[in-house]
């Protein structure tokens, strides 16, 4: 069985994001980057499936973007991915539609049984690429997975986190599954593994070789820093709080 794990390079979630003063994008200069947290969870799950089912399972990490993506792909190798593949392109214009187009082309080439990916990239917060990919391939999908169990070699039971509660579905492979936070706790790549991964090859294919043209359907015209911050009135006790909520804010 082959599992494809799309992994996006995103700004670290531990650092504040600043918009470039001209509104063109975010200020990248000082940011550190990481594997999109949901993709790290997808990779962890793929590795656990391999650990349970044996070396017949191959795990391929796929990044779509510039050469900078190699750093996150190496982390994926160090975590335990068998191969890393980068589709070279200008990632500044990518949207979920074009990502899904590229992934569909990779799926035709690599013929995976399962695409396991994040439910959302924490930079654009779109939550679309997996579902679009499943639609393009006409494959079953199970989004927002918090538990994945194999019932048979090609049948999965997936628990999905929905607004109404935990939904369970069963799907057949090949399929697209997107991950939610509670699926697992991703392992850290050890320092020796990271060192070793530096020497491993990262297969690179240009988007042209792949035969897909990038035609994004979403264009970002402008980015602004969202206004946050309120004048906080520090109240002395519960009585003052209730009084202010009642007579000042008039919310209770």
């Amino acid at each position: 069985m082959k599992i494809l794990v799309p992994t996006k390079r995103v700004p670290s979630t531990d650092e504040p994001v600043r918009v470039h003063p001209d509104g063109s994008g975010i200020d990248n200069a000082t940011l550190t980057h990481m594997i999109n947290p949901f993709d790290a969870i997808a990779l962890e799950e793929a590795l656990r499936i391999r650990e349970r089912q044996g070396p017949g399972v191959g795990v391929v990490a796929v990044g779509i973007g510039s050469v900078a993506f190699e750093s996150e792909l190496r982390t994926a190798l160090a975590m335990g991915a068998d191969r890393a593949l980068r589709i070279d392109c200008d990632d500044s214009v990518l949207d979920p539609w074009s990502v899904a187009q590229v992934l569909a082309a990779i799926v035709r080439r690599e013929k995976p049984d399962l695409v396991l990916m994040g439910k959302q990239a924490v930079d654009d917060d779109s939550n679309q690429a997996g579902q679009i990919l499943a639609g393009l391939l006409d494959w079953p999908q199970a989004t927002f997975a918090s538990k994945i169990q194999f019932l048979e070699p090609a049948r999965l039971q997936v628990a999905r986190e929905t607004d109404r509660g935990l939904e369970t579905v069963v799907i057949r492979l090949p399929a697209v599954v997107t991950t939610d936070l509670r699926l697992n706790e991703p392992r850290y790549a050890s320092l020796p593994a990271l060192m070793k991964a530096r020497k491993r090859p990262i297969e690179t294919v240009s988007q042209r070789e792949l035969g897909v043209s990038l035609e994004p359907k979403v264009r970002i015209m402008r980015l602004e820093q969202a206004a946050v911050g309120r004048e906080c009135v520090r109240v002395a006790d519960v009585a003052e709080l209730v009084r202010r909520l009642r007579y000042e804010a008039k919310v209770i």
Binding site: S126, A134, R219, L223, C232, D237, L241, V251, I252
Partner: protein
């Protein structure tokens, strides 16, 4: 040409969040001269359809095979209806229902999609959509290329549409069972029953973080405060991770987005991922033992102290 709004409902009523999407549809239609209609999918829809019709004409896709909202079938029917009605825009509330299904419909239609939209404007006749990115740290203005547009809106940013003077028509869509895919087998739904209002619809939300250590504690303090305020109970990811509260109560970047009149944050540090789900609440109250906690920076009222003492005192004060 129509603007299609995909409705979500409880047993008999269209949800207020879907009516917010309908309000946006009406506004867009007022500019373009298009017709607005609901699309309701499911099985046994008579009462839901007549409730929906109070707000707009309804296309009703009613079939036993649509009893569960599986993405393969729902995306197919939405795409079929959109083509047949020449939909220029498909709208819905940004819930997990819509997030699961609509991008798949976008793939079938070759449509352009923007999610979690919080505002819009026009420039030279082009629709500009505003949506948060980077966990709400930034707001992007985007344009879409390729009709139809598929847009999910944050209900918290738009008021629910009011009923029409005269109900719209309900027209049945002919669901052809043989054309429906059969890729996703629904097994069941597990949810924690609650008598409190829905998190996204409540006027007051009482939310808690890691300060509380068990479900019993949660009920004892938070549940009772929520009840005293007739509000909903919410939480941070920390409590979901620890299995103290169910995921559907989580507020934030990956949970629900709320904007109630009053949001009470008890023992919540104020991580950006949590703020993403509540910072547009009208009044925010924060209680935290750490006077430096970031939550105070977006609170209107702050009280420094131990939530185990303050919460019972607050309940008592409110009940006086």
């Amino acid at each position: 040409m129509v603007i299609l709004v995909v409705a979500e409902y409880d047993t008999a009523h269209v949800r207020p969040g879907s009516r917010s999407a309908l309000g946006v549809a009406r506004d867009l239609a007022a500019r373009s001269g298009e017709r607005v209609e609901w699309l309701v999918l499911g099985s046994g829809l008579d009462s839901v359809a007549s409730d929906a019709a109070r707000f707009a004409p309804v296309t009703v896709a009613d079939h036993p095979l649509l009893v569960q909202a599986t993405a393969d079938r729902y995306a197919r029917v939405i795409a079929d209806v959109a083509r047949a009605h020449e939909a220029s825009v498909i709208l819905a509330n940004a819930t997990t229902f819509a997030k699961d299904i609509l991008p798949r419909a976008a793939a079938l239609l070759g449509a352009a999609m923007a999610g979690d939209v919080t505002g819009y404007s026009f420039a030279d006749g082009e629709l500009l959509l505003r949506r948060p990115m980077y966990a709400g740290a930034t707001t992007a203005t985007v344009t879409l290329a390729g009709r139809p547009y598929i847009i999910t809106v944050r209900a918290s940013a738009f008021p629910p549409a009011e009923p029409l003077a005269k109900s719209g028509e309900c027209v049945a869509w002919n669901v052809v069972a043989a054309t429906l895919p059969n890729q996703i087998e629904y097994v069941g739904l597990e949810s924690r029953p609650t008598m409190r209002p829905d998190l996204t619809e409540a006027r007051v939300v009482v939310s808690v973080g890691r300060a509380f250590r068990s479900s019993e504690e949660f009920e004892q303090y938070v549940g009772r405060l929520a009840d005293a305020l007739k509000g909903a109970a919410g939480c941070t990811r920390a409590l979901v991770d620890d299995g103290i509260t169910p995921n559907e109560w989580q507020v934030g970047q990956t949970g629900k987005v709320v904007a109630p009149e009053l949001y009470v944050a008890l023992g919540i540090s104020g991580a950006i991922q949590h703020l993403a789900g509540m910072k547009n609440s009208r009044i925010v109250v924060a209680v935290n033992s750490d006077a430096e906690a970031p939550i105070f920076s977006i609170a209107n009222y702050g009280l420094v102290g131990d939530v185990r003492q303050i919460t019972p005192a607050l309940i008592e004060e409110l009940n006086r």
